[in-house]
Symmetry: C2
Subunit: 133 residues, 2 copies
């Protein structure tokens, strides 16, 4: 079962990361996601990391890459479900995720994506931001 | 990472099964799901099985159990993302999933759940049914 399913929810793509990521799986996910963005003409990508206890520089880079690829395909990327401990570690380690937006959960992520699309953020370049509410 | 995340999407709970299920994990998922149904007062549960290449009697029984538990908590259960090969095998083996509705994908699942809730199916008992559209 070495493929991460990509779900279509309300015009956005949703990926829930539950397994340990390694190079090959990350590459496959990037491939699948970019293909699905084009296929479905999705304007938003949500990545749920609620199962992750640790976000290291490898995962951080993968999220950055996905966001960058989605952006050139005119889609915004929102990371949802971050655990409190992960947020603390990210800040303490000074890991930045440029171009990756975050939201508390899927519902807020959907709302944030709609806001960003309305603002035209996908094309003008995204910044690290948290959900406005 | 032995916990399957439960996402809240538009008032429903969404579970994407990506890892091999075993007894203990299935029990934990049932526990978590029922707790979340009560906590969030969700009326619908969606279980994405698009990552599963095989649905055997163990998985079938787990889906039946989840649907039965959700039903007594007044929620409907919809299985989404079934692969064509899985559908063929289910019918050929004569495996029935009583009380489990199915829909093609998450979007149709959400629509089906809304239809079922409007019809009051959670309390009157669900049947094996496919998405109407």
């Amino acid at each position: 079962m070495e493929q991460i399913p990509i779900l279509k929810v309300e015009g956005c793509l949703l990926v829930s990361i539950q397994v340990d990521m390694h190079d090959q799986l990350a590459m496959a996910l990037q491939d699948d996601l970019t293909r699905r963005v084009v296929q479905t003409r999705a304007r938003g990508v949500m990545i749920d990391i609620s199962a992750l206890e640790i976000v290291d520089s490898f995962i951080g880079r993968m999220l950055n890459n996905i966001a960058a690829m989605a952006r050139v395909l005119d889609a915004v990327t929102v990371v949802v479900g971050m655990r409190p401990a992960v947020a603390i570690t990210l800040v303490e380690l000074g890991l930045t995720m440029t171009g990756v937006h975050t939201a508390l959960d899927v519902d807020r992520g959907l709302k944030l994506i709609r806001t960003l699309i309305a603002r035209g953020d996908a094309q003008t370049g995204a910044r690290l931001a948290t959900s406005p509410n």
